[in-house]
Amino acid sequence: MLAVSPLRNTGNDGKQGEKENNFSISPEEFPDFGEGNLLESIDFDDLFVGINDGDVLPDLEMDQEILAGDFPVSGGEESEMNNSFMSEKAEVDSSRSQEGEDKVLGLGCVNSTSNKGDEIMSGSDEAETKLKSLPNKEAYKTRKSSAAQAKNNNQGKRKVKVDWTPDLHRRFVQAVEQLGVDKAVPSRILEIMGIDCLTRHNIASHLQKYRSHRKHLLAREAEAAGWSQKRQMYGGGGGGKRDISPWLAPTMGFPPITPMHHQFRPLHVWGHPSMDQSLMHMWPKYLAHSPPPPPPPPTTWAHPPPPDPSFWHHHQRVSNGLTPGTPYFQHPLPLTRFPAPPVTGIPPPHAMYKVDHGIPATVTEQSGPHPLVDFHPSKESIDAAIGDVLLKPWLPLPLGLKPPSIDSVMGELQRHGIPEIPPSLA
């Protein structure tokens, strides 16, 4: 679509002639093309010829001062305005404003990169300056969002694109929860969040999305709950539980758990702090959107497995003979829960989490353990998990949190009258 035309100066005269430009660009207005300023010689306006279609930045909001700035941006379908860097700013301005705000930001940035003269930058604000290092179309979106965020939100013209980071979303969710999902009003949410960069409109649209997502989530869970309830009515206690799993079966193509254990040793790198941070950050957003129940550990070893994700089920059936202590219940799990475990070859959690929503509601009454969704994990599973840690202290930490400072722990304990640990008294 767009052809970058390097070394335009060489073809300028010809092009101008073709395009019937009513101006001419004197060679001295262009920087040295010959000597390696190829970047400058590339006419970035050409990149944006097609942008006039308005399909690139639908909701970009422009700062007034940018619009007023001297951006010799081409706006016409033809590239005849391409050359109007210096001489035809007025025309460009008017044509630009005609075309609307969509392209100006990018185009302005582009022109600032094209380095055709200082005038280009005269009207630009810091946002534009920031963006001039990204001359190509691919960087458009980055520029758009960064510039949008850098700009003042009080335009009122159009909504600024907000980047809903996990942290931001978490605050949003907190605010909504505080107010009550149904009562949460954007203006109040905004107050509670107390972030300057958000407009009521941002909040409102995010709230809408959040609400519809929640409804969808809960409706699905309720539907699944209703479904599994029926199943249990028909199948009885244990039978009903098992029947649920086949429903999940098609989604799971899980590798056997036991080998996974061996893989987890090297994966202990997840205990590394920097890894943890990024993984932890993934949690809130991910879990806020769809609380994923990790497959719970077996309630007891001899007991039929809980009706949760089928891979558990398969392995439970297969490995009922495993002796307690085989680390296939809790330790593999947390690692698999992380959204990005490519190393273990585990399919992304989404697959099983989406399927699994309805189970916990009914499982609660039956067997229990569904850690992240069920608020009442069974005593057996906890006991098993704890027992495993006690028996095998070398196992990797499931979450890999930063360890506490030994000194402050000891200090604190001494304050409470415990001079040493492990305590000699039971």
């Binding site: 809960l218 941070q277 990790p294 906890i382 704890i386």
Partner: protein, 93 residues
């Protein structure tokens, strides 16, 4: 002496992480560790607090996720009630 303390603390840390996997509260954790591993609640509590200091971000998220889940459970209960009520009504009609 110091080594055994350090390894003990590490063990308690590990156990607490297991409880976190189970989405337990601090109190639940103290109780579980006491019941299943014979660890004095004050020790659990201290290690938990220190862990929280070192991992503020995680624990903040953890707390909000717990709240979220509580309200989600509540919502689910309500929906289930609605569904069962409506099915009762259907059978009546």
């Amino acid at each position: 002496m110091g080594d055994s303390s350090a390894s003990y603390i590490h063990m308690v840390h590990h156990l607490i992480e297991e409880c976190l996997v189970f989405n337990m509260s601090k109190e639940e954790c103290m109780e579980a560790l006491f019941k299943h591993a014979d660890i004095k609640p004050i020790i659990t509590s201290t290690v938990w607090n220190e862990l929280e200091k070192e991992n503020k971000e995680f624990f903040e998220g953890y707390a909000s996720r717990r709240e979220q889940r509580a309200s989600d459970m509540e919502m689910k209960r309500r929906i289930q009630n609605m569904l069962s009520n409506s099915s009762i009504r259907d059978t009546k009609e």
